[in-house]
């Protein structure tokens, strides 16, 4: 298979990678690594990371991490090619012809490690890791760790639930593995990053809105509703959905407060309206500027919708259209 080739100097990414490798191991085979880079660039063409970056940035970053550890030529080539077998139609036989059995074997070992089901990756897996380390190639595990390190550095682009999942897995499996292999600096970075992700609250604006909303409820009911909503908030995958969930709770807080306080029938109606307004006002103070922005956007959207409905010939039809558009799709 022919991959386009040319002088290394024309590609700043490749030049940077080669410079990083040469800094740590002056005798590296730049030609072989350039070939692996071109093959990876060819096969990952058009693919993108969740961050929107070209996919190639990932294998290059993994190879750069390994270069910093003084990894050998085969490991660096395998790092550049580590996702091609799984995610692209690059035939294994072609890889073996172009890069030899050693690199291909490493790529196959990394791919096999990916396929260990997530459910099995628990505390018991430390033993499994030790077994793989003894039986197989220690270099495949190094690639896997560098792969996880780059994924952890870019984890903020993943949905929240996936972030939690991956971070738990990192702490349970990858950190002990790094320590076992003597890659202490990588283990330490993985540990601090995964722990920080797990500690981080899922979005301060939605959480702040919910706290404000719960504060308007009767004191004995506050803790329960706040805990219930924060728990539901955390399983929503995107920030957008979290914010939407929080705003919808805020919009209904008047009704909930009326139910829980059980005021006299005469006060009930006015009370709900006043509470909703009060929520909006206090969200500005307690929820910070993001919450305020979200509320302002909601108010503007409602105003726009009202104007849009009033300035039309068939008002009922428009209202029906609007309701249909706002409803969550099923």
């Amino acid at each position: 298979m022919n991959h386009p080739s040319g002088p290394a100097g024309t590609d700043p990414v490749l030049a940077g990678l080669l410079a990083q490798i040469a800094r740590h191991r002056p005798g590296a085979d730049a030609q072989l690594i350039t070939r692996a880079y071109r093959a990876a660039a060819y096969w990952h063409q058009g693919q993108r990371r969740k961050s929107g970056d070209p996919y190639l940035t990932h294998p290059v970053a993994v190879a750069a991490i390994l270069a910093g550890l003084g990894a050998d030529d085969q490991t660096l080539c395998a790092a550049l090619l580590h996702d091609t077998v799984e995610d692209t139609p690059y035939p294994v036989t072609a890889m073996r012809q172009e890069f030899g059995a050693e690199v291909t074997g490493l790529v196959a070992a990394v791919t096999a490690l990916d396929q260990v089901p997530a459910a099995q990756v628990s505390a018991a897996c430390a033993d499994q890791a030790a077994a793989i380390a003894l039986a197989g190639d220690r270099r495949a595990l190094m690639i896997k760790l560098a792969d996880r390190l780059h994924n952890t550095r870019t984890i903020r682009y993943l949905p929240w639930a996936t972030q939690v999942d991956k971070s738990r897995q990192t702490l349970a499996f990858m950190v002990p593995l790094a320590r076992a292999l003597g890659m202490d600096s990588i283990g330490a970075e993985l540990e601090s990053r995964a722990a920080a992700t797990l500690k981080r609250r899922p979005g301060t604006a939605p959480g702040g809105l919910l706290a404000v909303a719960a504060a308007l409820l009767p004191p004995e009911a506050r803790a329960r509703w706040r805990a219930e909503w924060l728990a539901e908030l955390q399983v929503l995958p995107t920030r957008r959905e979290q914010l939407r969930f929080a705003i919808q709770i805020v919009l209904g807080i008047g009704r909930l407060a009326v139910t829980l306080y059980q005021p006299a029938a005469a006060v009930r109606r006015a009370f709900g309206a006043v509470l909703t307004a009060a929520t909006a006002a206090s969200a500005l103070v307690a929820g910070g500027w993001r919450a305020a922005l979200a509320l302002a956007a909601t108010v503007l959207a409602v105003l726009a919708a009202v104007l849009w409905i009033l300035h039309s010939h068939d008002r009922t039809q428009r209202l029906a259209d609007l309701i249909r558009a706002v409803r969550r799709p099923r």
């Binding site: 999942d165 219930e228 909503w229 919808q248 209904g252 829980l260 969550r328």
Partner: protein, 115 residues
């Protein structure tokens, strides 16, 4: 003693009850009801609070063993009380209104059909 306000059978309330009556013995959590009914949380949670006050539904925190093994935050589960499901069925039956739409569609007035 304050008199309990009657439970109004609003449309979303009926929706929630129908979803829960699909399996009256099961327990349901808030997001699940939001997804099943297609109504926002601002509607669903006040309804759950009213149903709880009326004594049709009761709610409890989930058993810690479950959410820890499944690796997610603790859910608050709602389920019918002993006579809750029966009262919900009665209320739904009473709230039933026959459709005002005619059962037979009017003959369409197609262009060129009438002279």
């Amino acid at each position: 003693m304050k008199k309990k306000p009657p439970l109004r059978m609003t449309l979303p309330t009926q929706l929630v009850l129908r979803v829960m009556l699909a399996d009256p013995a099961a327990h349901y959590y808030g997001l699940q009801l939001i997804d099943a009914t297609g109504r926002p949380g601002g509607t669903i949670y006040p309804i759950m609070a009213r149903l709880e006050q009326a004594g049709w539904v009761t709610s409890d925190w989930e058993n810690p063993a479950e959410h820890i093994t499944e690796g997610r935050p603790r859910r608050r589960y709602y389920r019918f009380t002993d006579d809750g499901a029966e009262r919900a069925r009665d209320a739904l039956a009473q709230a039933y209104r026959p459709s005002k739409q005619p059962l037979v569609m009017p003959w369409p007035d197609l262009p060129g059909m009438s002279p």
